[in-house]
């Protein structure tokens, strides 16, 4: 276990993230150009999709059905558990609770990638179709949480009935369109389809870019994530102790649930670890703008700090090995 932790902590990925945090702590002017960050995230998502697609072409539909169901179930359960814990135990308001829940119901692609890398490094590579599951988990969690938020707000204000229903449905349609056609969905799903279509032969000539450069560019991206997380550290105090605990314990709970569902549906140890990580991770790309637009009353400090400055580093440094240990225990 300690060896596993050491491997995880001493990778360029984790250390680049730490470097970003340190740079912010010493108030360095270091900043990656915004266009570089956007370009890196476009690259990572597309490469992830392509690679996943190529490997998907070796998988049978049979293998996927179970894990896919498990993933969708996670997408419905995790936002609800998050919301309830935040409301009942954390005494957060409706909007804030729903906003944070939307983040924890969705998934962080970088954490997902880190888990993929980790399982490969420790010799338990995950199934090839994991990126397909990623696309399945990205959206429903946001949806469910925002719907809860809108409905509860309306109820608490007494505006129910037909009018509200119609407006809810309309804003929901817009939101679903936005999420389905979001950058990450297009690149992931598009990459998956292209990867499946071209197979190994078509993949060969683009492999140097989309596989060879992957870890290096991911390292740069984690540097940026570290910078972003570092500039959120000051907000930890405003977020309070409850959110700190929530950002660590909730992922462990969701991770255990994910690992269990994974093992039930026949995933390997690596696959379980990755599914657990997906369940445990909190989105900070897709969820924030959706929450900002739909529940503007929710305070961004809470959800961004929790997702980016608490849960992301926790998962990166300790979470993934924990989910791996749980998965190993469950699969034997």
């Amino acid at each position: 276990m300690f060896e596993v932790l050491r491997i995880n902590l001493c990778s360029p990925l984790t250390l680049a993230f730490a470097l970003g945090i340190v740079a912010r702590l010493v108030r360095s002017e270091l900043a990656l150009p915004r266009d570089l960050v956007t370009s890196l995230s476009i690259y990572l998502l597309f490469a992830l999709g392509l690679k996943g697609g190529v490997e998907l072409s070796h998988s049978s539909l049979n293998q996927i059905t179970g894990p896919a169901m498990a993933t969708l179930l996670l997408g419905c359960v995790t936002p609800v558990t998050s919301y309830l814990v935040l409301r009942k135990l954390g005494r957060f308001g409706i909007a804030d609770a729903a906003g944070i829940a939307a983040h924890y119901g969705s998934v962080s692609a970088v954490t997902f990638i880190a888990a993929l890398q980790f399982t490969t490094t420790v010799g338990y590579p995950a199934e090839g179709f994991m990126p397909t599951l990623l696309t399945l988990l990205e959206i429903p969690g946001i949806q469910v949480a925002l719907a809860i938020g809108l409905i509860q707000t309306a109820r608490s204000q007494g505006t129910t009935g037909e009018n509200f229903d119609a407006s809810l449905r309309r804003s929901n349609r817009e939101l679903i369109h936005e999420l389905l056609t979001s950058r990450s969905m297009i690149l992931l799903v598009g990459g998956l389809v292209i990867g499946t279509a071209v197979g190994e032969t078509g993949w060969k000539p683009v492999q140097p870019v989309f596989e060879g450069m992957f870890k290096g560019l991911l390292t740069l991206f984690l540097l940026e994530m570290g910078l972003a997380a570092g500039s959120r550290l000051g907000d930890l105090k405003k977020a309070g102790f409850f959110l700190l605990g929530f950002g660590i314990l909730m992922p462990i709970l969701h991770g255990a649930l994910g690992a269990w569902l994974g093992s039930m549906t026949g995933l390997s140890v690596g696959g379980c670890t990755v599914l657990a990580t997906m369940a445990a991770s909190a989105s900070y790309i897709a969820a924030p703008p959706a929450v900002r637009m739909t529940l503007p009353e929710a305070n961004p400090t809470y959800y961004l700090t929790a997702a980016l400055a608490i849960t992301f580093p926790f998962n990166l440094m300790a979470g993934i090995p924990i989910y791996f240990a749980i998965s190993k225990a469950l699969c034997n």
């Binding site: 915004r34 500039s231 924030p288 703008p289 900002r292 637009m293 009353e297």
Partner: protein, 100 residues
């Protein structure tokens, strides 16, 4: 040259609002707009901006009536809940009919 006075409305807002504001402009009757990227700080503290990109700055030359409708709309829909400011000034344009 002969010029006509018109209103120049400037809106500075967090960038998630981009599509909505452009839509609003059109809906109250603005005939065009110009948009630049910006950053900034205001009375409210650092916001969602960081990951989502920072602010946008929208300028639109409009008639006084349209300007008023826009200010009304922005102050009703956005001022409380979003990081938005808006202000008016007077500019002289040629081809005044282009903008109204």
């Amino acid at each position: 040259m002969k010029t006509v006075p018109l209103c120049l409305l400037t809106v500075i807002a967090e960038s998630v609002l981009k599509e909505r504001l452009v839509h609003d402009l059109r809906s109250v009757g603005a005939r065009g707009y110009t948009l630049t990227d910006a950053e900034g700080e205001g009375s409210r503290q650092r916001r969602v901006g960081e990951i989502l990109g920072a602010n946008i700055r929208i300028e639109s030359i409009v008639s006084p009536e349209v300007a008023d409708r826009l200010l009304q709309l922005i102050s009703n829909e956005y001022f409380d809940r979003f990081a938005v400011i808006a202000y008016l000034s007077t500019v002289s344009v040629i081809r005044g009919e282009k903008y109204v």
